[in-house]
């Protein structure tokens, strides 16, 4: 049942210097369906693949709008994501009410990381089981951040989380130099190509399971789903995607530290 004797609660170190419960929480993120984020000089984009428990059920949503200038994509425990996004919305509203200022993206990400860190150090608690990609536009331009249950947070040009996210990262690492000058359409296209790389052999991106969101200087945070994605998916289908080749298995996963 247990991987070893040092993982029974959160605040106990293993002799190897690891906190196993925190690492399990990071695994929970990898169990969630993939989400990809990337940004240019003018926009930040999120794309994600939604899952459904079966044909009779709806798809679980992956994008959460926080404010007009900010939103997140989630991978992992949806219920934890709802707690965190609720907190982010409260903070965004507070910033608007108190200072008439849209909440700076980096600040809310730091606050989120502080919340996550507390849950890795208190006896009896558990870390959040969700990873977030946060995009937003503020005074200092468009931003993309990753937040993980370990309390780490980094800003990225492009990032992928969730199941088989490594394949998407490989695509992003090969193409990220084009992102800075890319148009919003091209950015979404790159995102979908990276996302495609995370899919299993027999799966395809379609209007049911794909989800796209973006934000920019004169562009409120917008989520596109369903029929609105037709043109993007058509373009995706017509391109020979070099990204479809998944990452070689012997490549070490990119560390997030």
């Amino acid at each position: 049942m247990f991987r070893n004797q040092y993982d029974s609660d959160i605040s106990v170190w293993s002799p190897q210097g690891r906190l196993h419960q925190v690492e399990y929480a990071l695994e929970a993120v990898k169990q969630g369906s993939a989400a990809v984020g990337l940004r240019s000089k003018t926009h930040a984009v999120l794309v994600a693949v939604k899952r459904t428990p079966g044909d009779l059920a709806s798809y679980q949503k992956k994008m959460i709008r926080i404010d007009d200038h900010m939103g997140v994509a989630i991978a992992g425990l949806t219920s934890d994501a709802r707690v965190l996004s609720n907190y982010m919305r409260t903070e965004a509203m507070r910033s608007k009410m108190l200072y008439n200022r849209p909440l700076p993206i980096g600040r809310i990400v730091s606050a989120l990381a502080d919340k996550a860190q507390v849950n890795t150090q208190n006896y009896g608690g558990r870390p959040y089981g969700v990873g977030l990609l946060v995009i937003g536009q503020d005074e200092t331009g468009p931003h993309l951040f990753e937040c993980s249950p370990s309390g780490n947070n980094f800003e990225y040009y492009a990032m992928a989380i969730g199941a088989r996210g490594q394949s998407a990262k490989t695509y992003l690492e090969r193409h990220y130099e084009q992102f800075a000058e890319a148009s919003l359409e091209d950015l979404v296209h790159h995102g979908l190509q990276a996302l495609k790389a995370t899919l299993q052999q027999d799966k395809k991106l379609d209007t049911d399971n794909a989800s796209v969101a973006f934000v920019g200087e004169n562009q409120k945070f917008t989520v596109l789903e369903g029929e609105a994605l037709t043109s993007y998916l058509a373009r995706l289908g017509s391109t020979d995607a070099p990204a479809a080749a998944a990452a070689p298995a012997d490549v070490a996963p990119m560390e997030t530290e």
Binding site: L98, N100, G106
Partner: protein, 264 residues
Amino acid sequence: MNRQDQLLDGFYRRDTYSPRVQDMYPRDQPSAFAGVDPVAHTQSPIVTGTSVIALKFQGGVMMAADTLASYGSLARFRDVERLHKLTDTAVLGSTGDVSDYQHVQHMMERLMIREDYHNDGHKLAPPHLFEYLRNVMYHRRSKNDPLWNRFVLAGHHNNTSFLGYVDLQGTTYQSDTIATGFGAHLAQPLLRKAVESRGGPQNVTEEDAIKIIEDCMRVLFYRDARSLNKFQRATIATDRLEITEPYSVDTEWAFAESIRGYGV
């Protein structure tokens, strides 16, 4: 009446916002509160500053206030600076209670330190500071313990000028010209005429603005008995925030000789 009330009674201009607590709870009648003084917040300003005047001009904002802090009608402190630099892009001017103004200065200073600690390139721009101040002022009036001031916040950030007013009730407005206190009656029409006759602030040069401000301050010194011919002038423009040392304008009193009962 206790001794403090006797001192205060009739000595200060008392605003008519509400009856004093002492008047509402006569001490000589039996009361459930016998022997317990009601909590009495500030019901009138004590040491006060008079007008603040300000206007937008081409590429910036200009504001002025004299350096007098009156104790009632007594010109008690003659070197109090009523213009305060908040950030590199914003200046706050205060009419009304000087101690409340100093409290707000400290409060804004704490806010600025909190903001700087983030060290992330984000700055509180004039509209943000204004909203914060508005919240504080409205919060205090809602506690029935107002900060007895009328503030003018002037700023210039990212090539955009800001000029706003907030008072002890939390009322706000923004305008091309603002004047508080006696200046609201005497200077505001002059400021408006000066700006509007030129077709708006974009046609008012900095030299024009200085002239307009100094003319207004001269009129205020002539006619406002709580003013002083010693004032500071703040200029907030692109990459520049400057508050002058206190200075005076020339005045003309020769007419006094021909008026009976005026002086000697």
